[in-house]
Symmetry: C2
Subunit: 225 residues, 2 copies
Amino acid sequence: MSNFGFCDLRLVNPYAPSFREARSAVGAVSLLSKARQYESVADAVADCNLVIGTTAAARRELHHPLRRLGETETTSLIRRQLRRGHVALLFGSEKRGLSNEDFSHCHWLLRIPTREEHGSMNLGQAVAVCLYEIARHPQPGPRAAKGAGVAKTDGNRLANAAEVERVTAVLVDVLRGSGYLSASSSSMAEQKVRRMVRRLNLSTSDAQVWLGMLRQVLWKTKRIG
Amino acid sequence: MSNFGFCDLRLVNPYAPSFREARSAVGAVSLLSKARQYESVADAVADCNLVIGTTAAARRELHHPLRRLGETETTSLIRRQLRRGHVALLFGSEKRGLSNEDFSHCHWLLRIPTREEHGSMNLGQAVAVCLYEIARHPQPGPRAAKGAGVAKTDGNRLANAAEVERVTAVLVDVLRGSGYLSASSSSMAEQKVRRMVRRLNLSTSDAQVWLGMLRQVLWKTKRIG
């Protein structure tokens, strides 16, 4: 991360002994001492406007759009969002990768183009390759910066993950309240809803409007129920 | 290496305990079991037509052309040579990198574009980034393959490292014999000569001619001496 100029490391429930050991590693002390710890993926990405999950995409059936690292479209998507707000690149543990629950917090998934016969990468190497690719492209020039200025007028900005998650939470309550989801609905059903809301790519102002509408609906269904 | 389809690992005097441990690592057993060990860089790269050293290029004064990973010219140079013969990508140890002696076996040096403030990379990550970059480009099409066919007519082929090293060795003997280098000349002087010969980019047939000429000169200087 430090090699390529990325400095905001966030960890979800890191394994304490390994993290202690990593903190004392040479060369990245300042980055690691500023790393923040969270208890859930939702908390870790709360202020991010784009959340990208990484996957070797080998075994699992995926419910997300899958993009390839290095493709022009992928890179320009990431760079466009980097100019507008925070982008989270989510990596799973070395052994198991990201879970479906983790994926449900993502807008889309990213795959490093490896050989089919050997898709699963070492975690540190996967991070290095992704950040090299994102950093290698020229910085946005003045013209792009102007575009970002426009996009930053508050309401137009893409809603961040906390805003989207608020919409999701109320929507799940509404769906439960309405009987669409059973009161004891599985986490898989919730994940489907979460993915669906991410696909909306809500702006901040639209997320506010949706939240207002859903809260109203929730209040209504509870009154009736 | 295995992730990106490179399978010819060569090690120069590896640290035995680490190498034993690495051999038992998950997912790359076949690659590691086929890895070959050498006692010198010269032996390891003997059949290679292009030898590229890697460096963070931080402290040292360099005597070699330095290219940046990811630049179009760098990539096409590497790919062109990959179609013609073997290319060696030389990495130093985690702690010290490559020595000047190691560099003297290289045609040019490669630098991964990192932040200036933090140029030195983890070895495994540096390897992954380089191989990702080389593998990410489309494979050479039929037109390129045709070009390679032409290049492969024996004499036109770039001389491999063993052929170049033979020229170097005889040249050093000649320079010693002639008094240009003292009989006890330092390894630094030899390295200068080695770099100079690499810069000639000799073809196989030219290397043969040079070798014949130099051997003749050597025989002469010895007869006189």
